[in-house]
């Protein structure tokens, strides 16, 4: 189920095209079925359900939040923006993600115009890894602790600051819940066995 969770998160932060929203609605239904019971995002998903219909206005909201707007974009969706001291893009942290992807023989498709540490790329990469067998476990852990946990909470906090549309407020909630849950899972998994 983790692959679907991350895929869903990734899709939430990608450009809201009709096709993509349809996919998200499908995933959402699947996730609500799948549980787990008492999953922290239970209510978030219920609230998100009516927010996933295609709406032309959301295009502008998406741009305002993540691409370009006057006033500024509050939540730059790039890892290195938050992790590098000069707020640059394509920093060492970006290259690290790129190399992690290369280890699995994948890279961000050129026509997407996305950097490897764009939130969409990172989350989708996690979804990909989660779908692999246990061999990808260490990489997932690294991705989670050294990337997601270090910048995504800052990113979602910045996003909330500017009163985003409900879809993106809920997306921020979902992302936080997912990362917290996943880190906890990871911790519970790893502590007894070590």
């Amino acid at each position: 189920m983790r692959p679907q969770l991350y895929l869903f998160a990734s899709g939430l932060f990608n450009q809201p095209t009709p096709a993509r929203l349809e996919m998200l609605r499908g995933l959402l239904a699947e996730l609500r079925e799948a549980g787990p019971p008492n999953a922290p995002w239970g209510e978030t998903l219920i609230a998100l359900e009516p927010q996933l219909d295609y709406d032309e206005g959301m295009q502008a909201e998406y741009s305002r939040l993540f691409i370009l707007a006057v006033p500024c974009v509050p939540a730059q969706p790039f890892g290195s923006y938050w992790l590098e001291d000069d707020q640059r893009l394509l920093g060492d942290s970006t290259l690290e993600i790129k190399h992690m992807m290369a280890e699995y023989g994948i890279e961000v498709a050129g026509n997407t115009g996305l950097l490897p540490d764009h939130i969409v790329s990172e989350l989708e990469f996690m979804a990909y890894l989660a779908g692999l067998d246990e061999t990808a476990h260490q990489t997932q852990q690294k991705l989670l602790e050294q990337h997601f946990a270090r910048w995504m909470p800052q990113f979602t906090a910045a996003l909330r600051e500017v009163n985003p549309a409900p879809r993106y407020r809920l997306a921020a909630d979902f992302l936080d819940q997912l990362i917290d849950w996943d880190r906890l899972q990871e911790w519970q998994l790893s502590s007894p066995s070590d």
Binding site: L68, Q87, L89
Partner: protein
């Protein structure tokens, strides 16, 4: 053997004398430090990189570069030692170019405006949608208003394809700020007198010059690597520097003599210099006799401008003027009267420019070692293209160099010429409007006015390629009105700014590290052609100017003007016609002709200077016939300039070495040295107003425009003048580093128009300063 270390007795005291320690380690001599040499150590490593060639886009001098990359990331910009624009050196801005590519605030995807224009709301669209939309809207404007209803404002090393696209579209209204807002009057003056514009990449033999008379040419802070290095070398070779500027700039600190000239009175000083040179017969008699016209008339005209006349106007003593004239004459022709780069200042910039050129001509500097050299050319033909509708402005005269103000045809005096073609809306090169203004680059300021007022005919669509109409111009109301009035505005740029915030469609350009561009063809001592190659893949969904224009042209049935499939094919085609190829130039970065003193310094080799003035003469014209015919020769005479009342100041602005125009304030590496600009004010007026260093002050001009800025109290400026660095005071919140830092000088500069050229007279502004 290495030299033994010099032991200094004072060292012991410095070290705090561990005398106790020495007892034990007496066997350990020599010093511990030396002992360490032999111990094995690890040290930093230089990581492996790959290298491609390019030329810089951080300012408009365009130095040759070698860009080092590693792991898909450009990591270091070095100079190309073979490039005559910089001989391997790169300034701070050039080094910080990496942060153009990596800026988080860049334009990343094609965007379409939603909501009201200038409201700052867009949505991401695909390139196809964006280009279709642009083509559709432009075609609509063409259908409804005619092709002349499109204006293009370009600013950057990649504006060229946009000019071609606009010309192919059929509009004459293509403009760049370089003429009307910057070097216009100086290029024009040189053209008028000797038939060459001497701007862009100046062709001064700086290394061998022996005497620089610098009229506010702040060559160290408004710096262009090759020019600055040449000048520094010249100074090191013993050239005398006499520098005029109301502000004691860094260039002033390098000068042998400094004059805090009264602002705007350069012309008076120069006329007095001409007067002395003529009266005392200090000029190059052979050159004046053989290759000039109008000397007697000039003599007559400057008779009244004695040093005694100029002294109270300029604050330069009469005997100093005489002495400087004599000193220069003694060193001529290895002397140069250096015009300021941006000469859009006083109410008679043309006159100032003319007197600078006249002085240089009197000293016979043209085609002489240590004076002005004749550049060589590297002949690279343009591709064969169909005829343009406005052919007279669409083709550059091929003298080399990027800023070529030589297009001087004067069309008829109507909006539509005898062939039924529309004249430029900004009136550049149009009789009855601004006939002597350059029709190639036009008057950007007047183009904005034409758009705002929809005169002399409707302009309904605008393309901007780079540039920042607000911060590089001065009349914000006009620009805002223009942007709100037109039907359709498409902006192409790398970074967001105040102007492209109004765009209906935003086209994100790849940065200069991510793309090919058309060839750089220049004329220095050697003629050269240089290539720009991508050092990295585009970071975001961006494209290069040529590709964008080609794809737009295809959509507007103008594909014939972009006959190549790709930019690489274009480069290869052009280079093959010049006897080389893209593959070949990519290996070396630059191709050059051999140096030839005979070409550079014809008069040192007994050959006359080749001259062709716009007036059609083959001799230099002290009183340009073209001006005379139009009654503009009054520009030669001095015009009284504004003077501040007791509580007012001349408003001046200029550059620092690490910022270019309004383009680099959001670059985190250059902003690190100067995040905001400050107001330079002399301690005396500051004390009078109770202003202390670092305190916030309010500057207000006569039109009531004002801003708040921190004060720098310094004796490095005249008491009646204030100064601030140009390009700050950004109010576009998309520029997170530059936003709200300092004051926009352009909002305080004057927007009077120079009466002959039509360029701006930005220095006429008088301001009051008070404690905030």
């Amino acid at each position: 053997m290495s030299t033994p270390n010099q032991f200094d007795p004072s060292r012991r005291a410095f070290l705090g004398a561990t005398m106790g320690g020495t007892a034990l380690s007496i066997a350990g001599l020599p010093s511990q430090a030396l002992a360490r040499i032999n111990a094995p150590h690890e040290h930093e490593k230089l990581k492996e990189t790959t290298e491609v060639f390019g030329f810089c886009d951080m300012c408009y001098w365009r130095c040759g570069l070698k860009i080092r990359s590693r792991d898909g990331r450009a990591v270091k910009i070095d100079g190309n030692p073979e490039h005559p624009n910089n001989w391997g050196v790169v300034c701070g801005k050039g080094n910080a170019g990496l942060m153009v590519a990596y800026a988080p605030n860049r334009l990343k995807y094609p965007m379409k405006r939603v909501g009201k224009r200038g409201g700052g709301e867009w949505k991401q669209i695909s390139w196809d949608e964006a280009l279709n939309e642009v083509a559709e809207n432009l075609n609509k404007v063409k259908k409804e208003h005619g092709s002349q209803a499109l204006a293009l404002i370009g600013h950057g090393s990649w504006e060229k394809p946009y000019h071609r696209l606009a010309h192919a579209f059929g509009t004459p209204n293509t403009t760049s700020p370089v003429f009307g807002l910057c070097c216009g009057p100086r290029g024009l003056a040189n053209m008028m007198v000797v038939g060459r514009n001497l701007t862009g990449n100046e062709t001064i033999d700086l290394e061998n010059c022996k005497y620089f008379l610098m009229m506010g040419r702040n060559v160290t802070e408004s710096l262009h690597n090759g020019e600055t290095l040449g000048w520094v070398n010249g100074v090191a070779n013993g050239a005398k520097v006499v520098y005029f500027d109301p502000r004691y700039s860094i260039t002033a600190s390098k000068a042998d003599e400094y004059y805090a000239l009264r602002p705007l009175t350069d012309h008076a000083f120069l006329l007095a210099m001409i007067n002395v040179v003529i009266n005392e017969e200090l000029y190059d008699k052979q050159f004046v006799a053989e290759q000039t016209l109008g000397f007697d008339e000039l003599k007559e005209r400057v008779k009244q401008y004695t040093p005694e006349w100029a002294a109270p106007i300029t604050d330069v003593r009469a005997d100093d003027i005489r002495r400087l004239a004599r000193e220069m004459a003694a060193k001529a022709p290895s002397v140069f009267v250096y015009a300021p780069r941006r000469m859009t200042r006083s109410s008679n910039d043309l006159g100032t420019g003319l007197s600078i050129t006249i002085l240089n001509t009197l000293f016979g500097v043209w085609g002489r070692k240590g004076g002005v050299f004749t550049p060589q050319k590297y002949n690279v033909p343009e591709p064969d293209l169909p005829e343009f509708k406005h052919a007279h402005i669409a083709h550059r005269v091929k003298t080399g160099g990027d800023f070529d103000f030589s297009a001087m045809d004067i069309p008829s005096e109507h909006i539509v010429d005898e062939h039924g073609k529309y004249q430029r809306a900004d009136g550049a090169g149009v009789m009855g409007r601004w006939p002597i203004a350059n029709a190639q680059y036009g008057l950007t300021n007047e183009m904005w006015r034409a758009m705002a007022e929809q005169k002399p005919y409707p302009i309904r669509a605008l393309i901007t390629a780079g540039g920042n109409g607000f911060l590089n111009s001065t009349n914000y109301d006009i620009i805002r009105k223009a942007l709100e009035t037109i039907d359709f505005y498409v902006a192409a740029d790398v970074i967001p700014n105040e102007m492209n915030a109004y765009a209906d469609i935003l086209l994100p350009e790849a940065s200069y590290l991510e793309r090919y561009d058309d060839l750089q063809i220049g004329g220095a001592r050697e003629g050269y052609v240089a290539v720009r190659m991508p050092a990295i893949k585009p970071m975001h969904d961006t494209r290069d100017a040529w590709t964008i224009c080609k794809q737009l042209a295809d959509r507007m049935d103008l594909g014939a003007y972009f006959p190549h499939e790709s930019i690489k094919e274009l480069l290869d085609d052009r280079l093959k016609k010049a006897g080389s190829s893209l593959a070949e130039i990519e290996k070396v970065g630059i191709l050059k002709t051999a140096r030839d003193d005979k070409i550079n310094f014809p008069r040192d080799h007994g050959n006359p200077l080749k001259i062709k003035t716009p007036g059609g003469k083959t001799k230099a014209e002290f009183v340009p016939s073209m001006l005379k015919n139009m009654g503009y020769d009054k520009a030669l005479d001095y015009v009284e300039q504004v003077r501040p009342k007791d509580d007012e100041f001349h408003m001046t602005f200029g550059r620092v070495g690490y910022h270019t125009h309004a383009r680099t304030q959001d670059n985190i590496w250059t902003a690190d040295f100067m995040r905001e600009n400050v107001l330079w004010i002399h301690p005396e007026p500051a004390t009078k107003r109770g202003i202390k260093e670092g305190e916030l002050v309010t500057v207000t001009d006569q039109k009531g425009r004002s801003g708040e800025i921190k004060a720098k109290v310094t004796a490095r400026i005249r008491k009646d003048t204030i100064f601030m660095v140009h390009g700050f005071g950004h109010w576009d919140k998309r520029m997170t580093t530059a936003y709200g830092q300092g004051v926009a000088d352009s909002d305080l500069a004057s927007y009077e128009v120079e009466p002959h050229v039509g360029s701006m007279s930005m220095g006429l502004s008088l301001v009051k300063v008070e404690k905030a």
